[in-house]
């Protein structure tokens, strides 16, 4: 039998705010345990939460970027369960009135080849809500210690519909969602720091069946590759169970990316009754149009929209756009350079091939680059005008990357300009070349335009490879016309 998988993702994204969601203590990663705390974070007797508006701004912005409906009023609920990482033994979250409803994440599936755009899909979202992150348990041999530094960091829970069917789709979803959050300045989404965490709900059903199968929740998918691998593994596992005549049990499973295996954490019988109720310490929040408009104005163009624009406006090849648009800063860098050079494709090639290679080799980020968009544009113009040849330009780039000097200064210093620039010497070489090849002259005269190339080799040889090709071409045509 053929099976179809149905996949929904629950993604937790830490919102990048300076202070915690309900108090003024700083957020942060890698600090001494329990230093980012105060009476509110530690849930001391009498402490009260107060909403951090920056966290609300961020989630509303995220909702706007993903096309969600923003609730006119949102409220806060207590999700109650006992665990030492939760200082109040309830988590302030949103239960029945999430701030963002609906919306979509646009994804692109792999194309037929690297240079061919793949199929685009819009994965529908169920909801996004805001809650507080919990602390972290560190288990020792004889004890477990709690660190509340993370507790109270604003956290968005982004829930997709069960609308994906392959591990590749889930991978593409997460990649796109992550880029959107980074683009919007909402989160850095560093999975190693736990800024983005993903759980997957997976079920399978015979192809053609419309009813959902029994779902299994897969946890601890702590890299984007693990999400893909874990889901692929789980689909295979479920098919295996059914094919052996077994039944799928509703459960939570832990995926181990190192070994590529999973094991059961708990079954449905142990499910919590969270006893949600509205938090009486916090007031509902009204989100009016003015607030949304202000945030809408701060929303950047999303990567796929940018890619469509780059393809249409700059006529860039697909591979080049794919290399440019996923990094907001790089895309901006490209646009600045292309505007100056007037030659988008050549500009894009320099950035993607040379700049990224040199940055990678030097282990630097774009922000560290001594080569500014103006450098790239100047270099493109030097090549385009024939002032420097392509090979020389490559050498110029490396020097320019190391020193930050302008390309013309580098060319001058290293003698890399195309020569001669005086047309007299060139004209003589051209006359010599025409005189030496009457056959090509005759062909050209009879209308074969490409015959002109036959003269160029000897000219370049005479010029020791430093002739300006454009100038050579112009001079030859002028002389041939009068011959």
């Amino acid at each position: 039998m053929n099976y179809e998988a149905v996949i929904g993702l629950e993604v937790h994204v830490q919102v990048k705010t300076r202070s915690k969601i309900f108090t003024r203590v700083s957020t942060g990663y890698g600090y001494e345990p329990n230093t980012l705390t105060d009476p509110v974070v530690l849930a001391l007797p009498g402490a009260l939460p107060v909403m951090n508006k920056a966290a609300l701004d961020a989630i509303i912005k995220a909702g706007l970027l993903l096309g969600c409906e923003i609730a006119p009023v949102c409220k806060w609920d207590r999700k109650q369960y006992f665990y030492p990482d939760s200082p109040k033994n309830y988590q302030i979250s949103q239960y029945d009135q999430p701030i963002c409803l609906g919306g979509t994440v646009e994804i692109e599936l792999p194309g037929s080849a690297r240079n061919v755009m793949g199929e685009h899909k819009k994965i529908p979202l169920t909801r996004i809500h805001l809650e507080e992150d919990v602390g972290k348990l560190n288990h020792g041999a004889n004890d477990s210690l709690v660190d509340y530094n993370r507790a109270g960091t604003p956290l968005m829970e982004i829930v997709s519909d069960p609308a994906m069917h392959t591990a590749e789709e889930a991978y593409a979803y997460l990649t796109s969602l992550r880029a959107t959050m980074i683009y919007g300045g909402i989160s850095d989404c560093d999975m190693e720091k736990g800024q983005l965490r993903c759980d997957a709900n997976i079920s399978i059903r015979p192809v053609g069946e419309t009813k959902l199968g029994v779902k299994v929740e897969l946890k601890n998918l702590n890299s984007i590759s693990y999400v893909r691998d874990g889901i692929a593994h789980e689909i295979k596992r479920q098919i295996g169970v059914l094919e052996r005549g077994g039944i799928i049990v509703q459960e939570t499973r832990d995926y181990d990316g190192m070994t590529g295996t999973s094991q059961s954490l708990r079954s449905k019988e142990m499910a919590h009754d969270y006893r949600y109720f509205p938090d009486p310490d916090l007031m509902p929040v009204k989100v009016d149009e003015a607030w949304k408009d202000k945030l809408r104005a701060e929303c950047p163009e999303l990567p796929f929209d940018k890619q469509r624009r780059f393809l249409a406006d700059y006529q860039l090849p697909y591979t080049l756009t794919s290399a440019l648009v996923w990094d907001h800063a790089l895309a901006d860098y490209f646009e600045a350079a292309a505007k100056l050079s007037g030659k988008p494709q050549a500009t894009g090639n320099w950035i993607v091939n040379d700049l990224l290679r040199e940055l990678g080799a030097a282990k630097l980020g774009l922000a560290d680059s001594r080569v500014a968009p103006a450098h790239i544009a100047a270099l493109v113009k030097l090549v385009d005008s024939g002032t420097v040849l392509t090979n020389a330009a490559k050498e110029i780039f490396v020097e320019m990357f190391a020193t930050g000097d302008q390309p013309d200064a580098v060319a001058e210093r290293k003698g890399l300009n195309a020569a001669p620039t005086d047309s007299n010497g060139l004209e003589q070489w051209c006359r010599d070349a025409i005189a030496a090849n009457p056959k090509a002259l005759a062909e050209f005269k009879s209308g074969k335009d490409s015959a002109i190339n036959a003269f160029k080799g000897p000219i370049m040889k005479a010029a020791k490879g430093k002739a300006n090709p454009k100038l050579v071409d112009e001079t030859l045509r002028k002389l041939l016309a009068s011959s």
Binding site: L42, P45, G46, A47, Q80, F277, P280, L282, M283
Partner: protein
């Protein structure tokens, strides 16, 4: 009238301090001496810190000597219910759970009173986590009523009421969730004010039921209550439920505002179960206002019969959640006999909480459980709205309501063993909390056996000035404030 400083009012003492007839150190010493003399019988305090109090008094005297006194409260010893955080002082809620807890921070009211120069004095006994109406539910044992040591002072702020009645403080703070300031004030013969919900910050108040809790003053006179309220009221950015409103000078207002007022008598508050002596005393109070030209009108609060049920759903639901943090993990009582994390939760909480607290946590957990939420919690919230609407409807016709504060005078310690019988102590006070209104209990006489009786005045939201003025008018015409228990 007594000349003992510990039985004088803030107004009198402030005048004496300003006139240099008295120093704050002398006043504080007198209060400490009085406390030591009677505390063995009254047991109003969980703890007190003499050295700290005298140091604060000494600072106050220095300010006054330098001409930098901060107002009427500068140098006045004020007792704190053991549910309000004071930096460096125990904060126990009269629970074994927090027996060794010392607060590392100040509640907003603490900060405000310190800024006003008050001497923060002692930790006052109460029903554990403010759950009770007699102060018998304290891990530290009951407090006695200074008017009859065999009787309860009421509760949950029984220590706050008893300490004031016994001269162990000049004013005290309590908290009121269902009557916990007004009822003990009535039973101990002092003034007790529960402000409008949102007028006083709850930051630093150990939460019982967040949507009902309010901090308020106990004082010898309405004027003193106005002075303390003026110091602690106001918007606080650390409490999202505090309200942005202009704080008037209550002390000036209560003297300037004159009647006659229109007063409503809710008929549901004078029915079965009301002690006849209390009914008679409240009737005399009503008659006084009538004699002053006030229009007296019978009104109806038709949903009154649902107040108690509604309260015990909402208050216990919130409490079950608010008290979840007491788990022995970060602070507080931790069982030494636990084998794993779940066992640690069970044993720490089983050992740390008293019977009434457990009863309410269990009830609250039940009403929030899956499948019961709609039938209990959600429905109770709807009834709560009806109850509030009842009150607001009466205020279209009247300025304030007059009722008894408590259906009964102080009862014997141990007399009410049935928790449901105790819940009935709050039938006249609970509606005010559910509706978020201000309420004040003022002494209005004594039973034949010499137990104090209180009348409750209920006002409109954020109109404490008017409520205080109405209470003040009665108080000025009567001598109850000058009667003190024979201790």
């Amino acid at each position: 009238m007594t000349s003992e400083p510990f039985y004088q009012t803030i107004a009198q003492l402030a005048a004496a301090l300003d006139a240099k007839r008295l120093s704050s150190v002398d006043l504080t010493k007198a209060v400490i001496a009085r406390t030591k003399a009677v505390e063995g019988r009254v047991h109003a305090f969980n703890s007190f810190d003499e050295t700290d109090a005298l140091a604060q008094a000494s600072s106050s005297d220095a300010r006054r000597a330098a001409g930098q006194a901060r107002g009427a409260l500068d140098g006045i010893p004020i007792g704190f219910k053991d549910v309000i955080a004071v930096t460096g002082q125990p904060l126990t809620a009269s629970s074994k759970m927090l027996a060794n807890f010392v607060s590392p921070y100040d509640a907003t009211v603490t900060t405000k009173l310190k800024n006003a120069g008050a001497v923060v004095w002692g930790r006052l006994n109460m029903d554990e986590f403010a759950m009770g109406s007699s102060t018998e539910n304290s891990a530290n044992g009951p407090t006695s009523n200074p008017w009859d040591l065999t009787r309860v002072p009421g509760g949950s702020s029984g220590g706050s009421a008893a300490a004031l009645a016994a001269g162990e403080a000049i004013a005290t703070l309590g908290s009121d969730t269902g009557g916990s300031i007004r009822q003990p004030a009535a039973l101990c013969g002092v003034v007790g004010l529960k402000p409008t919900y949102g007028l006083v910050s709850r930051f630093g108040l150990i939460a019982f039921a967040s949507s009902l809790d309010q901090i308020g003053p106990f004082a010898r006179t309405v004027e003193d209550a106005a002075i303390v309220l003026g110091a602690i009221a106001g918007y606080d950015e650390r409490d999202s439920t505090s309200f942005q409103t202009e704080i008037p000078d209550y002390r000036v207002d209560l003297k300037q505002r004159q009647g006659p007022w229109k007063l409503g008598i809710p008929k549901e508050y004078f029915g079965e179960g009301l002690d006849p002596e209390i009914a008679a005393a409240v009737e005399r109070t009503i008659a006084f206002y009538k004699g002053q030209g006030c229009e007296i009108k019978e009104v109806s609060l038709p949903h009154t019969q649902y107040c108690l049920d509604t309260y015990y759903v909402i208050a216990t639901a919130e409490a079950s959640s608010n008290l979840a943090r007491y788990d022995g993990i970060r602070y507080g009582h931790r069982s030494q006999n636990a084998s794993d994390i779940v066992d640690l939760y069970f044993k720490s909480r089983a050992e740390g909480f008293g019977a009434e607290v457990k009863r309410r946590i269990i009830l609250g957990t039940y009403v929030l459980s899956s499948g019961y939420y709609d039938a209990y919690y959600l429905r109770a919230q709807k009834v709560r709205t009806l109850i509030r609407n009842d009150f607001l409807a009466t205020f279209r016709d009247v300025d304030a309501l007059i009722t008894p504060t408590s259906p009964m005078p102080a009862f014997k310690i141990g007399e009410k063993a049935d928790p449901l019988a105790l819940y009935l102590c709050d039938i006249y006070t609970i509606g005010v909390n559910l509706a978020g209104l201000p309420g004040i209990s003022v002494p209005c006489g004594f039973t034949k056996s010499g137990l104090p009786i209180g009348a409750q005045l209920i006002g409109q939201p954020f109109r404490e000035s008017e409520l205080l003025a109405i209470a003040h008018a009665y108080e000025q015409a009567h001598d109850w404030k000058n009667k003190f228990p024979a201790l």
